[in-house]
């Protein structure tokens, strides 16, 4: 069986900006993968190439072994984009029916509306939906064609905690039917909860491709915060094993897998330290550490990417 999605040495430039710099990625059918990365990392560009919304500058993108712009390929995909719109005058159900007509074997409208948790809003105009409800409408439109592959580009943006909860359950339900799901997010815990595989993209390259547990293990570090008697600059930390550094006047906040040598080096440099705190980094910070470009991290990462 051919992979659901394949990027082969895919490059994409917008003018002089290189959004993707040679991405290789094969997603087998039935897998739920999360693409993780900071804003501007290239996640949306990667999805656009997979969907044929954008053409690679070099390399190839394949959807079910086909050119992604082919209708036969698109007829098996559902999509939730970050930027999209619908005719706001239409009701939720009417929009679902409209999108169902685009697909060869759509699911019943009620089922799509139910999966999106919009039963009560089925006869509401799209323009009257709240931000979170609107996201769920886009989800209903993405699944109504009963696609084999579902692309979700930052689907939970604008949702409150409760609807996010319901939404993630809906995705799990859909995934349980053996669907391929490609999800982008910048919430690590979302990826952790849903995905079998996490692909971390940063500055246009894949810097990690592993299970959520492996990713977390790779970046588990400590958060170190303290105050100093004088304002420090980045040069004061040169050469230290630091993944992420934040300087605010005399307040310092950093992430490191080896906090002891960092503190030792600072003491040797005669930096006087007050209010020292060393705690285990949380998931968000771990992710930040993995994708940060400060001090040592950049060099180490380029090795990992190469």
């Amino acid at each position: 069986m051919e992979p659901a999605v394949e990027l082969i040495d895919a490059h994409k430039s917008y003018g002089s900006v290189q959004a993707l710099k040679g991405v290789n990625l094969a997603i087998p059918q039935g897998e739920l993968i999360a693409m993780l990365g900071p804003n501007g990392a290239g996640k949306t560009t990667a999805i656009s190439l997979m969907l044929g919304l954008r053409k690679p500058t070099a390399g190839r993108a394949l959807l079910l072994g086909m050119d992604p712009t082919q209708r036969r390929a698109r007829s098996r995909c559902g999509v939730m984009l970050q930027e999209s719109g619908v005719n706001g005058a239409l009701h939720v159900r009417e929009l679902v029916d409209l999108f169902r007509a685009y697909y060869p074997r759509p699911m019943p409208a009620d089922r799509a509306i139910g999966l999106a948790g919009l039963r009560e809003q089925a006869s509401m105009s799209a323009s009257k939906l709240s931000g979170g409800q609107r996201q769920r409408l886009y989800y209903a439109l993405a699944v109504c064609g009963d696609p084999d592959i579902l692309f979700l580009d930052e689907p939970t943006v604008g949702m409150d905690v409760e609807s996010r909860r319901a939404f993630l359950d809906g995705i799990k339900e859909f995934a349980a039917e053996g669907k391929t799901i490609v999800l982008t997010t910048h919430y690590l815990e979302e990826a952790d909860e849903l995905a079998q595989r996490v692909v971390v993209v940063d500055r246009g390259v894949v810097i990690a491709d592993a299970s959520p547990a492996e990713i977390k293990g790779k970046v588990a570090g400590k958060r170190v915060t303290f105050d100093t008697d004088r304002a420090l600059g980045e040069e004061d930390f040169r050469g230290m094993p630091i993944n992420h550094l934040e300087l605010r006047g005399s307040h310092v906040r950093l992430l490191s897998n080896q906090p002891e040598p960092v503190l030792g080096a600072l003491f040797r440099r005669d930096v006087s330290i007050r209010n020292l705190e060393v705690v285990g980094a949380d998931l968000e910070e771990a992710f930040l550490a993995l994708t940060s470009h400060d001090v040592e991290a950049a060099g180490a990462k380029e090795e990992a990417a190469g």
Partner: protein, 266 residues
């Protein structure tokens, strides 16, 4: 887990007619729910008939043709073509501004189906506007026109307006949502006036009378009035001019469409 996928290896696509019908239905529901603009484009010809048509509805030209019928035909031409220019033009510009096109592009919906459905929706409105104006002209103006002649008039109104669909699409893909209404008005209103759709050409300034025969709406008017009254040019000449204008306007529209698509989807 993957058995469900393995058992559905068939590749196929939804039939085009189903997509286009659903798209037309959605377009018409949208018009129905937000009727302000539609009513405007239907009420305007009726209102103009009130001003320009009613006072002369029973007059006859020296050749015996009815002034009321001619005014009605002219205003119907204005109504039909303005729906194609305004509804399609502003509708496309809005749909681009609201990023409806982005989501559509990611679905199996073929690009041509959107334009086909928009056009079909606009043509439905156009026919309704002709019916509304005709009923008003008959009831309020007491004009008379045989049913066969009326059907022929509607056919000419619709076919002759197709080149102006190119203008609508060019505006829709070439301008932003804020500029589209202004651009449509700035181009289309002078075009209609200068072609004698509101006021007979003979009553317009000399230089406009000289420019008029080069304008698409002039030939559209000629085509529409053909058979109702002696016209300045033959049916064939009018059709030829309209084809030339159609090629020019659709050429501009295709360029605008391509550059819009190239900017977003390449």
């Amino acid at each position: 887990m993957s058995t469900a996928i393995a058992s559905t290896p068939t590749f196929d696509v939804a039939p085009a007619w189903r997509i286009v019908l659903a798209q037309i239905k959605a377009t018409l529901i949208g018009y129905w729910r937000l009727p302000t603009f539609v009513i405007f484009s239907m009420a305007l010809p009726v209102m103009f008939f009130l001003f320009f048509g009613l006072p002369y509805a029973h007059d006859k030209l020296p050749d015996g043709s009815s002034v009321g019928v001619l005014v009605m035909a002219n205003l119907a031409a204005y109504g039909v073509s303005s729906i194609l220019v305004f509804n399609v033009g502003i509708g496309r510009a809005q749909s681009r501004a609201q990023k409806i096109d982005l989501l559509q592009r990611a679905t199996p919906l073929p690009g041509w189906a959107v334009i086909a459905a928009d056009t079909a929706g606009a043509l439905v409105l156009a026919v309704i506007s002709v019916v509304v104006l005709s009923v008003f002209a008959v009831l309020a103006g007491g004009i008379s026109l045989g049913f066969g002649d009326w059907v022929l008039l509607v056919v000419r109104l619709i076919l002759g307006a197709l080149p102006l669909l190119g203008l609508g699409l060019a505006i829709g893909y070439g301008t932003g949502v804020n500029a589209a209404p202004a651009v449509a008005n700035l181009i289309y209103l002078p075009l209609s006036f200068a072609s004698g759709l509101f006021i007979p050409l003979q009553q317009l300034p000399k230089f406009i009378q000289q420019i008029a025969p080069y304008l698409p709406t002039y030939h559209y008017g000629q085509l529409v009035r053909h058979g109702l009254t002696p016209t300045d040019e033959s049916l064939g000449t009018a059709v030829l001019w309209l084809i030339v204008w159609g090629v020019i306007l659709f050429g501009i529209a295709i360029r605008a469409y391509r550059s819009d698509v190239a900017r977003k989807f390449s």
